[in-house]
Amino acid sequence: MTALIEIEGLTKRFGSFTAVDHVSFSVARGEVVGFLGPNGAGKSTTMRMLAGFMPPTDGTARICGHDIVDSPVPAKRELGFLPEGAPTYPEMSVIDFLAFCARIRGFRGAEKDDRVATAMTRTQLEGVRLQPIETLSKGFKRRVGLAQALLHSPPVLVLDEPTDGLDPNQKHEVRELIREMAPDKAIIISTHILEEVAAVCTRAIVIARGRVLADSTPAALVADGRSMDDVFRSLTLGEAA
């Protein structure tokens, strides 16, 4: 089993505040890791460091063997990243935006068009392909961000709250999509929705105050008969008390 994502002692300090405190884990091909934790736990910060947006204060991570600090561009090539809130250029049309991302990722001509078309099909965006992104609803915007992350079929996907703001049907579709892609990728998704972890993830990592509190399968977390909610509360509140 080869680990596509290896995180080693990743740490981020903002002044005296430690947002992420020596987080280490690795994710193998075929795994879907659910990243759980209360707001401000350090989920987004960890993901930003992994995506090469924030430089870590200490520690490092490797994506498909490429160090995110020493060789950021090769690492980013293997990665599909959905930033928190799925930011996109509002004045661009969906197809122009995806074509821009495809070009940056080195696709040209017919292959570029294929990639864009496939990404739009997978995220059900064909109907709005020529609309400016700013005119779309929240759910569509999120799917544009998702399409951008899937475009180059990367071996590693890091999705920050991929289902936030979607209606139940859309949530279902995104989960189906993740399940479908799971066998040949390493995926990390962050979420607040606990049932989502049980639905799509093969592994759950609970993080609070920058530290990993639990790392096991969703089934093992609730093995003692408690609900996911209770487990989450006792883990994340227990230590604060």
């Binding site: 930003r48 995506a51 090469g52 947006f53 924030m54 430089p55 950021p72 561009v73 090769p74 980013k76 090539r77 990665l79 990243f81 930033p83 928190e84 809130g85 930011p87 996109t88 250029y89 509002p90 004045e91 661009m92 122009d96 821009f100 991302c101 070009r103 940056i104 990722r105 400016p132 961000g145 951008q148």
Partner: protein
């Protein structure tokens, strides 16, 4: 360079997808036209050249170019798209060069649209078109210098007003450095600095171009000036991208 060109292409299209392009170009043309014909005495001086036009362009760019650059990074921060752009497989340097080239090409379009002035002098007399051409080249280089300053300052803050005001102030410093007021003051008090100030003055360098002279020194000045600010921009971005 390829990645920088792709970024530049997207940026350039973005100007025309929003009212920014129309507003900027219309205001630029109205102001250059008005100043050239009134204060510049375009007709009354009875000479077939564009000297009155060229004398106003750097001062207009002083205000208009920072208006163009203030949003370049500040807006990316506000929208969060900076996180998207910088997690694509490109270096911060490529993103900086891409944004700069797009803005520069946009300024070139605005300058090119002043062509009716050039037609007018050719109808009314026999101007030296070589001098006109070097004058335009000089304008483009001044625009490039101010753009490079403005873009770097835009990377410092997420507030567009602050980016604008600081960029105007910084550009003014380099515009006014060679003016008699500054150099005379420095000659009297700090003689060493007078030459330095004149050497760093964008307007002083530009003056040569309006006379039809392209000297290697002026050219190297603009090239290194732009390169310096772009480099600074990439460094700022690398350190402050997530702030």
């Amino acid at each position: 360079m390829k990645a920088a060109m792709i970024v530049a292409r997207r940026e350039f299209a973005a100007y025309f997808a929003t009212p920014v392009a129309t507003v900027f170009i219309v205001i630029f043309l109205v102001l250059t036209g008005a100043l050239t014909f009134t204060l510049g005495g375009f007709f009354t001086r009875g000479q077939a050249d564009l000297i009155p036009f060229f004398s106003f362009v750097p001062w207009l760019f002083l205000f208009l170019v920072p208006a163009l650059t203030m949003r370049l990074w500040a807006e990316e921060r506000r929208l969060g798209t900076i996180e998207l752009l910088l997690t694509l497989p490109i270096t911060p340097g490529q993103a900086v060069v891409g944004k700069f080239l797009a803005a520069w090409a946009f300024c070139a379009v605005a300058l090119a649209l002043t062509f009716p002035l050039w037609i007018t002098i050719n109808v009314l007399g026999q101007p030296d078109n070589g001098v006109v051409l070097t004058g335009y080249l000089g304008c483009l280089l001044v625009a490039g210098a101010y753009l490079a300053i403005g873009t770097a300052i835009s990377a410092l803050t997420r507030n567009q007003v602050i980016a604008f005001v600081l960029a105007v102030a910084a550009c003014f410093l380099f515009a006014a450095a060679g003016s008699p007021v500054v150099t005379e003051f420095l000659s009297a008090n700090l003689p060493v600095m007078a030459d330095v100030a004149r050497g760093l003055s964008v307007n002083e360098r530009f003056a040569g171009f309006t006379r039809g002279v392209i000297s290697a020194r002026d050219f190297i000045f603009f090239a290194s000036f732009i390169a310096f600010w772009l480099f600074l921009n990439a460094v700022i971005l690398e350190h402050k991208k997530a702030d």
